[in-house]
Amino acid sequence: MRYSGWRVLAEGLRGNRGWKPAWRDPAPAAEYDAVIVGGGGHGLSTAYYLAKNHGLKRIAVLEKGWLGGGNAGRNTTIVRNTYMMPGNSGFYSFSLKLWEKLESELNYNVMFSQRGLVMLFHSDGQRDAYVRRGNAMINQGDDAVLLDREGLRDLIPYLDYDNARFPIYGALLHPRGGTARHDAVAWGYARAADRRGVDLIQNCEVTGIDIEGGRVRGVQTTRGAIRAGKVGIMVAGRSGQVAAMAGMRLPVESHILQAFVTEGLKPAIDHVISFGMGHFYISQSDKGGLVFGGDLDFHASYAQRGNLPRAEQVMEAAMTLMPVIGRAKVLRSWGGIMDMTPDGSPIIDRTGIDGLYLNCGWNYGGFKATPASGWCMAHLMATGEPHDLARRFRLDRFATGHLIDEEGTGHQHNLH
């Protein structure tokens, strides 16, 4: 089924009775060429690019719940490339380029909105750091504009510029940054993958990984055994449990990250704004809700809900940055399980087991990576060799010291 303006009009006249499910609901086959564990954004995009870029025919995505029901549906939908470390900057730059073509690629409205991302700075030292970051972004071929205080005030007048503790000195503007509709990204990739013959199998939890002689042979699931020569693990916060089925211990700790949304308001916040003092970021959804988040709760958790101290801290940051937000009512909050690595950067790599591939460690930045992560993971699974853009996302980099420490805080859990 193709979507078009004409189709919407015609269905409207026919009472919308002609729409069919956007993808099939197949029973698992006994064998596939490639099995992807995890039906989130990364798993679905990997399946799509495996079929499209590499011509694989027999692919299955196994999802224990429903498609896009994990972190794909729990993030704050921000897309950007504000990275500067070798390994990260080229990868996220490529991802941003894929985002810009994604809707025509998938024939799906993912509501990608390049409304501009504004990173505030609050001291001379922080301005210097952002100038350096902006130059790195420009050298990478992306865009960055340094705004002084008055330039920023013209753009965003309602911030508390003269806050006694955190006065705003200016901002680094990333015009191509923005947001996308997170669910639609999962659905768009799902539909596009299904159209290329990928079996999307929901309510199918992987319970074991079959390994013989150092080679993966398939997986055990709640819907029976499935043979496969290639298995990719893309389960974000659950990476530790699935990797343990293959006898692996990962450099990953799963932490809870909360997010919040207010009642729907008239258009008020035109950009994505990130506070430079404390971890806080906010944008307004197309429905009108102010979507915002902060830091981790900073203890390991799989609860998908957070604790009140962090909620309080996030609200305090919001009030410090834009007191006007105090009039809005928070509608709901939720949590996602972040697969945190010691250096804050992801892993896309082979494992010690032939045919078993790992994609994890997205910390709290996985959403923007969705297209490039799938692109590079598909390359890795199809060819057995890492894609050039993901070559540094190695599983063994903590042992060898080849860290990608974007924040410069060190290689220890709980620092990112």
Binding site: R238, G240, R249, P251, V252, H299, A303, P309, N414
Partner: protein
């Protein structure tokens, strides 16, 4: 979420900071292989369910605590002092 400090009694989450998994209690010896240091610093069981991790009561008695709790329900089963345990961190 509250933790019951053995010295201070039940206190709010805000008084504590969490360092991470109990792996930090098992520091390798000076001559240990690089793999042992990698495991100590980076590799984690990351359990969904019963877990043991290290907390610091920085807003209270400033003792290091070994907390046994569920990472799924946030239920706390036990809080012990690290001091006095064999192999306690220096």
């Amino acid at each position: 979420m509250r933790l019951t400090c053995p010295l201070c009694g039940p206190r709010d989450r805000r008084e504590y900071s969490c360092l991470g998994a109990e792996d930090y209690l098992n520091r390798p010896g000076a001559g240990a292989a690089p793999e042992a240091w990698d495991a100590y610093l980076h590799l984690r069981d990351n359990p969904a369910g019963r877990a043991r991790d290290l907390w610091y009561h920085e807003g209270g008695c400033r003792e290091w605590l070994l907390v046994t709790r569920s990472t799924v329900t946030h239920e706390v089963f036990a809080v012990e002092l690290v001091a006095g345990r064999s192999g306690a961190a220096e």
